[in-house]
Amino acid sequence: MDFLALLVSTGLVSGAAYGLIAMGFALIYKSTGVVNFAQGELVMLTAYVSFSLANALGLSFIPLLIVTIPIAMAIGLALERLIIRPMLGEPVFSIVMATVGLAVILRGIVVLIWGSEPLNFPAGLPTKVISIVGVPFYPAQLCLLGALALVTFCAWLFLRFTRLGMAMRAVAANETAALLMGVSVDRIHAAAWMLSAAIAAIAGMLFAINFKLAPDMWFQGLKSFPAVILGGLDSVIGASLAGLIIGVIENLAQGYLGEGMREIAGFVVIIVVLMVRPYGLFGSVDIERV
């Protein structure tokens, strides 16, 4: 029982990391139809930026978050304007490849500026272990879970009740119709990237605090793909839930089956689920007309 509780609790923590990164993917895909292969690198870049800010300004956790998010949004906006905007109208494939190229550039920039050594990033969070119902947690891990819950709730509110959110859903459903209705598609794309970068900043900071701050953090982006797919590529809330599911399943597989099953458990799960539901658990079905 203890063992199971440990596995589930730590699975939720790593799942929360997957979920946050997956939400970034889903948000951009929902609004622009582009899979941003540079999301993992964006997470890494914003984590390093907040690391530098923490060292330069000596901030504790919440102020650091408040300072990092606007900077991350600025980075997201800059990337969208520089790379994606000029390619409006080109086949989606080309834009996706451009994000791949962008990923390579960001990786190089991170090593250029911060070197290749792994770094320690406590970010002013206490390191004393907290015990909840007999299960030990680090405060940083609780922050990660809390952040996922908060961001998911905010995303739901945003998409459901704010004008910008509804405009995003309109653009996702039918871009031309949205344009005809007076929605500035151009602004929506920019907003999608900015918000996705903000989520990436939160994901990056918390991942770096919990696991590591090193130039191979971008691999987490690839590892979050199962969460994105399971939840459905264009469902932001679905991505968050799917992240938790994948995290728990991975841990259970590793704990009870061993043999490195954690690495492939997520991928096996999505293959199985996709055979039954080809658009993920919460994704919207593409209706094709002949």
Partner: protein
């Protein structure tokens, strides 16, 4: 595009004039190659390695070179990918015409380059990957310096067994799922069999894992209190951090990668005074002397990157240079290999045990010293000096 490149290559080939005799040797210089990890997540390891070659070459050149010839180091990147090591060495041999090979990266990388090394009878000193796969079978021109991971772990576990074993010892090992991990487990197995202690659990993880929650939960369940920690860098730190979270009272024997300042800084917050076994010195007068000497040849930034990876290549190049010097003016690969074979008790100023390649496996530096980290002030202290295990 192809024509342009081939014309350029032809021009380059004719520019690097190969003098009569072996490539890489002219009247004024000797070219030594390095194939290191200069890009990718392990780049800081490769930078440290590359620094060792550079410092050794600078020191030798400042003292007049080798019989009047200066050493020139040519570095190529392989990003820790074996196929790129092969390509890099092809370039070093065909285009740059190196005389010998000093810095290398991992075991798989050296093995990938082996066909080229044996074909060209290239004098090679392997210092960063002293795995049995390299010297069993022994290749005529390859000289290995270093102890195996297996010996390093056995040495540490022996120290723990002799000095600080808990009352109900339960040993456990967690290691990577590759040849490096196999060697860690081999050392663990040897220790556990010899001491007759309880073998709690043996776990494997995939390279690059950062989430060890499941593994450490299993360790806790098994009641492990002496851990052979086969994780490296951030992985090892995460293992210890998970252990601290689960409030495990354990002693940890770590890989020598945890002896570099960056790793110690990552792992120290968990509060465990782990041990490290290494075939080069981590602290003490030899290290101080080295740093003082290196100051003249490096920038402040580079000096901060000096670590045990620097020491191993430094020793490697010094042993290579020693053999080359013995050959005098007639410097050939065959002569260098002969002189390397005859190397006995070459002093390295305390950075390692004396270097002797005069054995069938052409293997030196198998003596391991054990150090312990003081987590409070992140410094290493010697527990046991260089000894054979």
């Amino acid at each position: 595009m192809k024509i342009a490149t081939s014309v350029l290559a032809a021009a380059l080939l004719s520019a690097t004039a190969a003098w009569a005799g072996d490539p890489g040797v002219s009247d004024t210089e000797i070219k030594i190659g390095d194939v290191n990890i200069m890009t990718g997540p392990a780049a800081f390891v490769g930078r440290g390695v590359s620094l060792g070659s550079k410092i050794a070459a600078a020191e030798i050149n400042a003292a007049g070179g080798i019989n009047g010839r200066k050493i020139k180091i040519l570095t190529e990147d392989d990003g820790y990918i074996p196929s790129r090591s092969f390509q890099a060495l092809t370039k070093l041999l065909d285009e740059d015409g190196i005389f010998a090979l000093n810095g290398t990266s991992g075991t798989a990388n050296v093995l990938a380059m082996m066909p080229l090394i044996t074909e060209n009878n290239l004098p090679t000193v392997v210092t960063t990957a002293p795995s049995a796969l390299i010297y069993k079978p022994v290749r005529p021109s390859v000289f290995t310096f270093g102890a195996s991971y297996s010996d390093a772990f056995y040495a540490q576990l022996k120290y723990i067994h002799d000095h600080s074993e808990p009352n109900n010892p339960v040993y456990g090992v967690i290691r990577q799922d590759d040849d490096f991990g196999q060697e860690v487990e081999a050392g663990y197995e040897r220790a556990v069999k010899e001491f007759g202690v309880k073998d709690g659990i043996r776990l494997r993880f995939k390279k690059g894992t950062s989430n060890f929650a499941a593994e450490m939960a299993q360790m806790k369940q098994a009641g492990v209190n002496v851990l052979a920690n086969g994780g490296i860098f951030a992985g090892a730190a995460n293992i210890l951090s998970e252990a601290r979270k689960l409030d495990m009272n354990l002693q940890s024997a770590d890989v020598w990668s945890e002896g570099i300042p960056a790793s110690a800084k990552l792992a120290a917050p968990a509060g465990y005074d782990y041990t490290v076994g290494d075939y080069v010195a981590l602290s003490g007068p030899a290290v101080e002397k080295f740093l003082a000497m290196a100051k003249a040849f490096t920038t402040a930034d580079e000096l901060a990157g000096v670590s045990r990876y620097t020491f191993v290549t430094y020793v490697g190049l010094k042993s290579l240079a020693h053999a080359m010097r013995e050959c005098g003016k007639e410097l050939t690969r065959a002569c260098t290999i002969e002189k390397l074979r005859q190397t006995k008790n070459l002093d390295t100023g305390g950075l390692s045990a004396p270097v002797s390649y005069d054995n069938p496996q052409q293997l030196a530096g198998t003596e391991v010293a054990v150090y312990q980290l003081h987590a409070k002030d992140v410094t290493f202290h010697e527990l046991v000096g260089f000894k054979k295990y």
